[in-house]
């Protein structure tokens, strides 16, 4: 029972934040509502026995990525006191496409005959053993990718001839 209460609260926070992300007028508010959504998702991760991922989500995402986005927002042009998010184009058509996608996914989830199964307990230790065992090579490749992204971002941002 308490699980359901927690789940509904987290779902309201997450989806409410997501709706504000796509509807807020000020670009800074858009980024801050994204932080709310990401924190709600971290709550879901904690409910799903993924404590390590929840911590990563809070530290890396709501800590790092949101700060990065705020810097990017403040670096681009501002008009007057606030930074407008630019409004929306074709909201009706976009809404139809998004609703159709979500409804189709929902239909597949509800009617697809998913095995509910019982919830297993997953220890953080299991994740570490997978990352340093069978997935060690992809894990190292990932660090090369992050290095490449960092170098690429610096090269792009330092260009003078743009």
């Amino acid at each position: 029972m308490i699980d359901w209460v927690l789940f509904v609260v987290l779902a309201l926070v997450t989806l409410g934040g997501a709706l504000k992300v796509v509807s807020a007028e000020d670009l800074v508010h858009v980024v801050l509502w994204l932080a709310v959504t990401l924190l709600g998702t971290a709550g879901f991760y904690a409910m799903l026995d993924a404590g390590f991922l929840a911590a990563i989500q809070v530290l890396l995402y709501t800590g790092g990525v949101i700060t990065l986005m705020l810097f990017a927002v403040l670096l681009v042009r501002r008009e007057g006191g606030h930074i407008p998010a630019g409004g929306v184009a074709e909201p009706a058509r976009a809404g139809v496409v998004a609703l159709a996608t979500a409804a189709l996914s929902g239909f597949a989830i509800v009617r697809g005959g998913l095995l509910e199964g019982e919830a297993y307990r997953l220890e953080p230790k299991a994740l570490g053993q997978v990352l340093l065992g069978p997935l060690a090579l992809p894990f190292e490749a990932l660090s090369v990718l992050l290095l490449a992204a960092m170098v690429g971002a610096i090269v792009l941002a330092r260009r003078k001839d743009a």
Binding site: F7, V31, L60, R93, A153
Partner: protein
């Protein structure tokens, strides 16, 4: 009484994906589009973690960790491109960026 099952989490993720898709399609500002893409990636990660829990296998969590790192790399490069575009264009409105239009 049982707690929320697999499909409850998948439904929340599907709704989040739909909202993100709406943002990508309807927003006109580049930064707002990047933020909406984040929503969609976040929904995919939630799916992976839910499958991992109800399938009883830690590989789903490992894949979600990879997904997180990939999204971070995407944001870093994407925002660098946004800053570059802001320097060379007067506005970040994607409808105004038509210099390649035939």
């Amino acid at each position: 009484m049982m707690g929320p099952g697999l499909s409850a989490y998948l439904l929340v993720a599907a709704a989040m994906f739909g909202v993100g898709l709406y943002g990508v399609l309807s927003r006109r500002n580049l930064v707002a589009i990047v933020v909406s893409v984040e929503l969609m990636a976040n929904a995919a990660n939630l799916n992976l973690v839910a499958f991992s829990r109800f399938g009883g296998h830690p590989w789903g969590q490992a894949l979600a960790l990879f997904g997180l790192a990939l999204t971070v790399a995407e944001v870093v490069v994407g925002l660098a491109l946004v800053v570059l575009a802001a320097r060379s264009h007067t506005s970040l409105d994607v409808d105004a960026m038509s210099s390649l239009k035939g």
